[in-house]
Amino acid sequence: MDFALNAEQTTLQGVLREFLSERAGETAVRAQMAEPAGFDRQLWKRMGAEQGLQGLAVPEEYGGAGFTFVELGIVLEEMGRALTVSPFLASAVMAPQLFLALGDTEACERWLPGLASGDTVATVALAEDSGSWESGEVRLAARREGEGWVLDGHKSFVVDGAAADLVLVVARAEDGIGVFAVESSAEGLDRTPLPTMDQTRKLARLTFGGTPATRLVSTDAAAAVERMLDLTRIALAADALGGSGRVLDMSVEYAKVREQFGRPIGSFQAIKHMCANMLVELESSRSAVYYALWAAATGHEDTSVVAPMVKAHCVDAYLSAAGDNIQIHGGIGFTWEHPAHLYLKRAKSSQALLGGSDLHRRIVAERIGI
């Protein structure tokens, strides 16, 4: 019984930190920022070929490495730390976890190996212009046409929606909510990258006009979507944990060397306590994220309560830490050239994604019976 990463997991963390700092440092991040659908395809291939990251948590029978959500969380933490611009969240968390939650083995066999290898980039399209991530709010219509299905309507705030080769679309059919696979080349599919304040996480708007789609088989698609959302919430908390860790490191490093009034600013109690409070919050977030990852990995009944809880808590803590980091840096922290603002924006976009923290606390309230 250990509430800590084991030796293997710690090694994975170290390898990833080195890999990302070599292959996807700040210069690489900034190179992908300006382009609303940009991501580093070189890096993506290396992630797959050298590290096998995309398939880490995909079961071996579908071409993955069969590790658990804990290992996936370690990857997400490091990517949050490095602000990695890649469709990892969409294609290695959201899409495969939706496939797995639906339990359509045929679809898993058909698509998961491509996702696991990184050859296919996939995403899930759920929210629409209203910005709601509740499947009950879905309006995009699916109707039968001949043997298959066609989709009509739109999706928005689709994570990496402009770059994905495969889109899992949550749509409303006659018999209720269903999930439909649409390939990017499909007829009547139009994709517009949405310029975002956080330029490291790409969103897109998709329109569907009689677009042919394959319906994935499931006994309860809405429940599967909710399971996918819970896992994505935990993933975002892990990303926030990584970012929080990095901004604390930046603050501490700067506070040690920056001198004002003849002494390092890190010797002033105001700055010391700000950093120590960031540490308290960081490590408390770490406790929460690690527990949530373990719960997700083992299918613990707690997962559905813990997922919205840690999402709200950890992104809020991240936003606060990212703001404090700017304050500690002073003027330089307010400039475009300094990375401090990139973390503030990533924290903010993490807070908004899947719905804000108030909404997530409302979900917790319902799930614990308040």
């Binding site: 509430f3 800590a4 040690k256 490590e283 409302r362 917790v364 309230a365």
Partner: protein, 395 residues
């Protein structure tokens, strides 16, 4: 990262659960969750409960068999705490000896001292009080002024201590005294074990802001103790005391922090009873309270792993940040507790008796002060853990 139980631990869990089911009955069941570190409520009942636990062999579980413990592993201690919290019996009364002095003696005492003092602690036969803080030094422990001088085979102690939890019940105190006034602040301090029942020791209760008695001040006026009742080296008491305040507090913190989940449940029940749960603003705070309580648990479990050595975080850091997080969160929870009760939050019983939620509101103010203020904890975290420069010494 693996929180699942081995078959052995699962058996142990079952054993604990069964014992608690069979023993948290009668008066003990009627006093679930009564008491806390900062109060002496229902003292006699809690003392009786401690003796029940002792009889079951559940006190001082990690200590060696020879002193009345059961050589329990850290994992077993953790499981016991989790089950204990689930059953929510009265809060233990005699934590001073079990959680603070005992571990210190185990670490730094002589064989004779251990043999003499540890078994009565495990059997709840002798109660202990801590003599560390003084009126002139709270956070700055090393500034203490109580002095002890040798007089033949005895130490003679003069001075005053304060904030001694449950001091009025103590049979013995472990007291930090300055034994070499010429040495630098940290170097001339010894930890003496002093019997309370003697003319030179005067213990007075201090009424706290809840209207209850918990802390004491203790006056030493030519108090005496045997020369060999020094824990650790003479003039080496500082290091001994730091040990007592350090990593040993894993289970103590955990017991306090796990208890909070019951409080939060009680807050939620109060809100429901007042018809306040549809209030979305309060709902947010209730969820925040629940989140905070869960994080306290997870921080505590990480601390136990750190104590086992199974974590990259060192236990001292983990204990310190757990405490800062918890005292801040618990204060927030106390405010939510009052809001959940709405107008009735103001009403108290006869003789200023407070309900548990009111106690939380007032009592949590002590948690960011005692055992090292939040400010001192943040200093330590920033300097020792983050490596930020120390403040300049006054020139």
């Amino acid at each position: 990262m693996d929180l699942s139980l081995s078959p052995e631990l699962a058996d142990f869990q079952e054993e604990v659960r069964t014992w608690l089911d069979e023993h948290v009955v009668g008066e003990f069941a009627r006093h679930r969750g009564v008491g806390f570190s900062w109060d002496a409520e229902a003292w006699d009942l809690r003392l009786a409960w401690d003796r029940e636990l002792a009889a079951g062999g559940w006190l001082c579980m990690g200590w060696p068999h020879e002193y009345g413990g059961r050589d329990a592993t850290v994992d077993q201690q953790l499981i016991f705490q989790l089950e204990y919290a689930r059953a929510d019996p009265p809060f233990r009364a005699t934590t001073q000896g079990q959680d603070l002095f005992g571990p210190t003696l185990l670490h730094s005492g002589t064989a004779e001292q251990k043999a003499r003092f540890l078994p009565p602690i495990t059997r709840v036969e002798e109660l202990w009080g801590q003599g560390f803080s003084e009126p002139s030094n709270g956070s700055d422990l090393a500034g203490l002024r109580t002095r002890a001088r040798r007089d033949g085979d005895e130490w003679v102690i003069d001075g005053q201590k304060v904030w001694t939890s449950h001091g009025g019940y103590a049979d013995w105190m472990y007291v930090l005294c300055r034994t070499d006034p010429e040495a630098p602040r940290h170097k001339g301090i010894s930890m003496l074990v002093v019997p309370v029942d003697q003319p030179g020791v005067d213990v007075r209760w201090i009424r706290n802001s809840l209207g209850g008695d918990d802390f004491c001040e203790v006056f030493f006026n030519e108090a005496r103790t045997r020369a060999d009742l020094v824990v650790g080296e003479v003039n080496g008491g500082w290091g001994v005391a730091m040990g007592a305040l350090g990593t040993e507090r894993g289970t103590t913190l955990l017991a306090e922090h796990l208890r909070v989940q019951h409080e939060v449940r009680e807050i939620i029940e109060a809100a429901k009873a007042n018809g306040r749960t549809p209030d979305a603003a309060l709902r947010q705070d209730l969820v925040q309270a629940w989140t905070d309580a869960r994080i306290m648990e997870w921080n505590g479990r990480r601390l136990m792993s750190a104590i086992k050595g199974g974590s990259t975080t060192d236990p001292t850091t983990q204990a310190s940040l757990s405490k800062v997080f918890a005292s801040r969160a618990h204060t927030r929870i106390g405010e939510t507790a009052m809001r959940a009760q709405d107008a009735a939050s103001e009403l108290v019983g006869a003789d200023y008796s407070l309900n548990r939620l009111q106690q939380v509101f007032l009592g949590t103010r002590a948690e960011s002060i005692f055992g090292g203020t939040t400010q001192v904890q943040l200093n330590v975290l920033s300097e020792r853990t983050l490596g930020l420069p120390r403040e300049p010494r006054p020139s």
